[in-house]
């Protein structure tokens, strides 16, 4: 990879990480909808947007940095309380995240589509306009606080906002004065802070105006306590801190209503940023607007000085430069017309939002990519302790190598008398081999572990999509996630995201009923869709279930008949289970109307294919009126699999053990034929049989008994007749490469010891073959 490519990959990896963190925080925010947001959470999101802005600017990704800046701006206003967190803001933030994700995807492919650029501009404008609607604010509760104007003048805007918020909520405020010795005031202060943290919120830390002795320094901590004063005093025992309560006048104080923090006024605050008071936000938010520190008479009446960074979006700038009258006019108008008619609101609430965000040129292609829950980067985060363990193992391997080398040297020197010590030599050699084997096992295990990532990574991304899908479909959904910490190979987790999305979409689109229908059916108003992962031995089972309408197998049958997927005669003979399985056929869709979300006729067959590619098994359960559940059984890892080595006509093949259900020993007389097709009777069920030698065109051997490997993948079962079983082995499957892609029935090759290359059977393809044979005959 060249320099630029490497840099880009690094950028994409880091950007993805930031967006992932951002997504997680937004999700928490979404879940807390309606309650007062945690200030730390907003700060976290703000910082994430800020670091993304910096990162993308560094890599010259202008569109990302611009949008991130606009988001940061919005979050800043949110943080400072100029904007309340309503649905509209939250939806915009989540959409911003989606757009950022799409931008990152385009950046990773080094393309830049006009459609997306348009969407960025449109969204940016909306973000900028969002703040304007909540500009009208009544009296400032801060004025009720008995606090020295001089002290108040040095607060940063954020600190002032937090203080105001605390006053509004009626939190008991204290000034905690503490004097420390100059030599160790930092540790003392840190200790005080850590003591105070669990008791409430440290709004600001200011150097005290009263000196704390000859070689000391005193601080004033403005503190909003969650606990009563007595408890606070008790907790502060043993520290140099003194408590002073800050009194708040009652609300009807008739204070002037200057709307001090409305973002209307703008002044160029030259040199306003003098040495800032110590604040945790400082490094993360250097562009944060600050109040002038110079003491001003009647600071409360002075409008905030807002420093606008030069990269401000043009539109926002234009709005802010508009005269206050115009703006007030606009705000009043917006208020008069009601929220729902203000342009951003209208775009968000109704279906038009879909057309706005749709790619106008080719609606299918890029859209699918945007919607993918796949991550953009190929990187895996590995705990350093895991790498250390690997390193240790490698060190021990080197030791074994040294031992072996020493033995070689020794044997070379005493070549004449080698017979003498050959027994001892053999013992030593076998000991070393055992050691080697053990260490190699550890190395393999360690590497596999390093590839493991929690499935929660995908679950979180899906949860975001669910939210949108549910809203677009007009359903009310409770999305339940479980077992996110179950670990799977990174490769599998990535491949899993699209199939899971398909299934969840189906659950929301087809499974879950509308709230009215649910109430009529005597169910709770909100449908429940759950996504759970569970480790079961060497497999991970992922269950997607809903408590919706279930699958109507008769509807399925009629649809399959109408689409000529099955014949009338076949349909008559099918069991309920078999009918349910029809939903996995290509071109099948039960949705009466083709919606944008699902029902394009691609869906479950793709899901089945993808799961099959991962050597997984998919099972469907459904009860009409009660719901549907899909079970995906997946191997924990793909890189190294356990295989059953079988022999057919002198050839050797490997069958992935995870698709082997059982092995039978069968006499030729037990094989029956149904319509000239060979079948076996296994405990009362009929199992189609495939002779591998015949299927592969190898000369068949006459055996007095066959071994039948019963393979199962997804819904299908098939018996594969082979001549001999040679045992089990761990194999590393290599793909056959581009030139041999077309060979059916073989998924790859593996190297057994002794330079023997064996082919690995593609059980899925063989099953398909068996089934299509059956269908042709039927």
């Amino acid at each position: 990879m060249n320099q630029a490519g490497k840099a880009l990959a690094e950028f994409v990896a880091e950007g993805t990480e930031i967006l992932e963190a951002l997504g997680k925080d937004l999700l928490v925010l979404d879940q807390q909808r309606g309650t007062d947001p945690e200030p730390d959470l907003i700060n976290g999101i703000f910082r994430a947007a800020h670091s993304l802005k910096g990162l993308s600017a560094l890599f010259g990704q202008e569109r990302i940095s611009k949008l991130a800046h606009q988001a940061e701006d919005l979050l800043d206003r949110l943080r400072l309380g100029k904007l309340s967190l309503d649905d509209q803001v939250l939806d915009s933030l989540i959409e911003t995240l989606d757009v950022l994700q799409a931008l990152l995807a385009e950046a990773s492919r080094e393309v830049s589509s006009d459609a997306l650029s348009g969407r960025v501009t449109e969204l940016g404008t909306r973000l900028a306009n969002l703040g304007m609607t909540s500009a009208a604010v009544d009296e400032d509760p801060l004025d009720r606080l008995e606090l020295d104007a001089q002290v108040r003048a040095v607060f940063t805007e954020y600190e002032e906002h937090r203080l105001r918020e605390n006053v509004r909520r009626g939190v008991a405020l204290f000034r905690v004065r503490a004097a420390f010795d100059l030599s160790d005031f930092d540790t003392g202060l840190a200790e005080l802070n850590s003591r105070l943290k669990p008791l409430g919120e440290v709004v600001s830390t200011l150097p005290s105006s009263e000196p704390g002795g000859a070689s000391g320094i005193a601080f004033d901590l403005i503190f909003g306590a969650k606990v009563p004063e007595s408890e606070l005093a008790a907790k502060l025992q043993g520290t140099p801190a003194q408590l002073f309560a800050l009194r708040v006048r009652p609300a009807a104080g008739g204070a002037p209503a200057p709307a001090a923090h409305a973002p209307v006024a703008q002044s160029v605050a030259q040199g306003s940023r003098q040495s800032a008071p110590p604040s945790v936000e400082t490094p993360a938010a250097p562009k944060k607007p600050r109040k002038k520190r110079a003491p001003k008479g009647g600071g409360a009446e002075t409008p905030d000085a807002v420093t606008e960074s030069p990269v401000q979006a043009p539109l926002l700038r234009a709005v802010e430069q508009a005269s206050p009258e115009e703006l007030t006019q606009g705000v009043l108008e917006a208020m008069r017309m009601g929220e729902s008619t203000s342009p951003p609101r209208a775009e968000l609430a109704g279906p038009p939002v879909r057309t706005l965000t749709d790619e106008p040129v080719s609606p299918r292609g890029p859209r699918m990519e945007n919607e993918s829950a796949r991550s953009l980067t190929q990187t895996v985060r590995v705990d350093i302790s895991r790498l250390d363990a690997l390193m240790n193992t490698v060190g021990e391997l080197l030791l074994i190598k040294a031992n072996l080398q020493r033995m070689v040297e020794a044997s070379r020197q005493q070549e004449g008398s080698v017979m003498l010590s050959s027994k001892m030599w053999g013992q030593e050699l076998s000991r070393e081999t055992r050691q080697l084997e053990r260490k190699l096992d550890a190395l393999q295990q360690g590497l596999l572990e390093a590839r493991m990532v929690p499935v929660g990574q995908v679950f979180d991304r899906l949860a975001r999509l669910v939210r949108r899908i549910a809203r677009d479909a007009g359903k009310e959904i409770d999305f339940v996630i479980g077992g996110g910490d179950v670990e799977l190979d990174k490769l599998i987790v990535e491949e899993l995201s699209d199939p899971l999305m398909h299934i969840i979409r189906n659950a929301i689109d087809h499974g879950a009923e509308s709230p009215e229908a649910r109430l009529a059916a005597g169910k709770s108003r909100r449908a429940r869709v759950s996504l759970r992962a569970e480790q079961k031995g060497n497999h991970v089972v992922i269950e997607v279930s809903d408590d919706g309408a279930g699958i109507d197998e008769l509807g399925v049958r009629d649809m399959a008949l109408r689409k000529n997927l099955i014949t009338e005669a076949q349909a008559r003979e099918m069991s309920r289970r078999e009918l349910l399985n029809l939903i996995f056929l290509p071109g099948f869709s039960t949705a009466r109307s083709v919606s944008e979300l699902s029902g394009r006729g691609v869906g479950l067959d793709v899901v089945k294919n993808n799961i099959g590619n991962l050597s997984g098994i998919i099972d469907v359960w459904s009860e009409r009126g009660q719901g549907t559940a899909f079970h995906l059984t997946l191997p924990v890892t793909l890189a190294i699999i356990r295989a059953l080595v079988v022999g057919v006509s002198g050839r050797t093949y490997a069958v992935p053990l995870n698709s082997v259900l059982e092995i039978l020993s069968v006499k030729p007389s037990e094989i029956r034929t149904v319509e000239r097709r060979e079948v076996l009777d296994v405990r009362g069920t009929t199992l189609p049989l495939m002779r591998l030698a015949r299927q592969f065109g190898h000369p068949e051997r006459q055996n007095d008994r066959h071994f039948v490997v019963v393979a199962g993948l997804a819904q299908e079962r098939l018996g594969i007749a082979v001549d001999e079983l040679q045992g089990q082995q761990d194999i590393v499957v290599k793909s056959l490469g581009g030139r041999l892609q077309g060979v059916r029935g073989i998924s790859g090759a593996a190297d057994l010891a002794n330079r023997r290359t064996v082919l690995v059977l593609d059980v899925g393809a063989l099953l398909e073959e068996g089934m299509s044979l059956e269908r042709r005959r039927a």
Binding site: Q3, S649, G650, R651, Q695, F696, G697, H698, K734, S735, L736, G737, G738, R739, L740, V743, R744, G745, I746, G748, A749, D751, R755, R756, T757, V758, L759
Partner: protein
């Protein structure tokens, strides 16, 4: 105390910003300015198939390996002899004798009924558009240098029809080499 600029330099220095490649690039452009000699001999790898001498441009050949045990692939194309493992990669090995009408059917060299490969037999590994591929040859003889003047078009009747993978003939004194388009031969 080192000066600020030194500190900044060491902070921003990245070893991978080496200018090495650029110098090479410059050197390369210098070379092409020199007048091109009219006859640059090109190197060909010569090998034998059923007694005939063939040759392919050596730059297309990645390596030559002894014949390892091959694994036959069921239901694959007729010219596929089998697959082999080469340092962790699986690559297909092809027969080109049928294509060149040197044999009626590909020899059976993989699987339990295969005969031992002859002592001289080798696999020539070439890079193709979809990965590495191996070609079975009876023996590898030498690397020959052929000047453009030593090449001639394939006589009519030889280059046509099925043998479109023959691009010409190379003549060195009395010896004749049939020049192959190896990628064409693999289709």
């Amino acid at each position: 105390m080192p000066s600020l600029s030194v500190l900044l330099d060491s902070f921003f220095y990245r070893p991978d910003e080496d200018v090495g490649p650029i110098q090479e690039l410059v050197a390369g452009t210098d070379e092409t300015v020199e007048p091109v000699p009219e006859e640059i001999p090109e190197e060909y790898l010569a090998f034998r198939l059923e007694g005939e001498h063939y040759a392919v441009p050596i730059h297309g050949v990645r390596e030559i390996v002894k014949v390892p045990p091959l694994t036959e692939v069921p239901r694959a194309a007729a010219n596929l002899l089998g697959v082999m493992y080469l340092r962790g990669e699986v690559l297909p090995v092809y027969d080109i004798k049928v294509k060149l009408r040197l044999a009626d059917k590909a020899p059976l060299v993989a699987g339990p009924d295969a005969s031992e490969p002859s002592r001289g037999a080798r696999i020539i590994v070439v890079q193709t558009a979809d990965g590495l591929a191996g070609i079975w040859v009876d023996s590898v003889s030498e690397v020959v240098r052929l000047r453009p003047s030593m090449l001639e078009l394939a006589p009519p009747g030889v280059g046509g029809g099925e043998r479109d993978c023959v691009v010409g003939l190379g003549r060195r004194k009395q010896q004749l080499f049939i020049l192959l388009d190896i990628w064409q031969a693999l289709t």
